[in-house]
């Protein structure tokens, strides 16, 4: 019998989806399955899936402008107990440093602009890089804490 550790290792999982919001659930479903091997508190699992949702929604909406011919690419892997998700679109990219702070008083009641903030709140690490040939890649990382660890980042 192999150790539980070995059972969990899947190697990198890649998927790509047509740019439809309905497909976000497909990706969440697969990520949820990947996380099954880890004994995560339900809350933590929920925040990870929400961060993934936000990243995919941005890739579909802002990146690919909901053009269903364009694809959203998701790579997932767990390395050293850290979940790493890369979400890539086929859009024009953007400058993440230019994104407004949703907590600034003048933005507090805006109807948008909270997606990246939520990702940063729920994940340990969020980074952006432009992709060769256009599009943006966002990398989300979260350490999947083992037994005995109850502390949570995020709300």
């Amino acid at each position: 019998m192999s150790s539980p550790r070995a059972n969990r290792e899947t190697g990198p999982i890649r998927m790509s989806l047509s740019s439809r919001f309905e497909n976000i659930e497909m990706a969440q479903h697969l990520c949820g399955k990947l996380l099954e091997g880890y004994d995560l508190p339900e809350e933590k699992r929920h925040w990870i899936l929400m961060a993934l949702r936000e990243a995919l929604a941005n890739a579909i909406k802002h990146g690919n402008s909901q053009d269903q011919a364009k694809r959203v690419h998701l790579d997932m892997d767990v390395i050293d107990d850290t979940l790493q998700m890369r979400i890539r679109d086929e859009g024009n990219g953007f400058d993440p440093s230019g994104v407004a702070d949703p907590l600034a008083p003048e933005n507090r009641l805006k109807t948008s602009g909270r997606g990246i903030f939520y990702m940063r709140t729920f994940m340990d690490e969020v980074s952006f890089r432009p992709v060769d040939g256009g599009g943006m890649e966002i990398v989300l990382k979260k350490h999947l804490i083992r037994e005995g660890q109850k502390e949570e980042k995020g709300p």
Binding site: E22, R53, A57, L109, K110, T111, S112, R114, G115, F117
Partner: protein
């Protein structure tokens, strides 16, 4: 998402939401329901969030948009039965203080008369 509207004491409109308020599913529907109430001259709206299973930043944005449009018409929009995760999501973006949030429907309805 499913929506249904009931009227409580004092003409307070209770909007029961059920399901997801997420991008492309429920977010626009929420706005349209609220806009319709506002157009009908209903000014006191209580959104019952008890059966909302998921919300994302788009859903939160719509909630804020509804708040603003009701307030701009001189009305009040309040929230009832916030599930803990939605409360968390409103808290981190410092929106929880914007909304009046109630745990009891009776108290919430009465508050509009105050």
């Amino acid at each position: 998402m499913k929506t249904s509207v009931r009227e409580a004491k004092g003409g307070v409109q209770i909007l029961d939401l059920k399901g997801k308020i997420t991008i492309g599913s429920g977010d626009v529907q929420l706005r349209e329901t609220i806009n319709k109430l506002v157009e009908e001259g209903k000014k006191n709206i209580l959104i019952n969030m008890a059966d909302v299973t998921t919300i994302d930043s788009s859903g939160i944005g719509e909630l804020v948009g509804c708040y603003t449009s009701v307030t701009n018409k001189g009305g009040k929009l309040k929230l009832l039965h916030l599930p803990p995760k939605i409360s968390d999501v409103l808290t981190v973006t410092q929106l929880i203080t914007v909304f009046d949030v109630y745990e009891s429907e009776g108290e919430a309805v009465a508050s509009f008369a105050a």
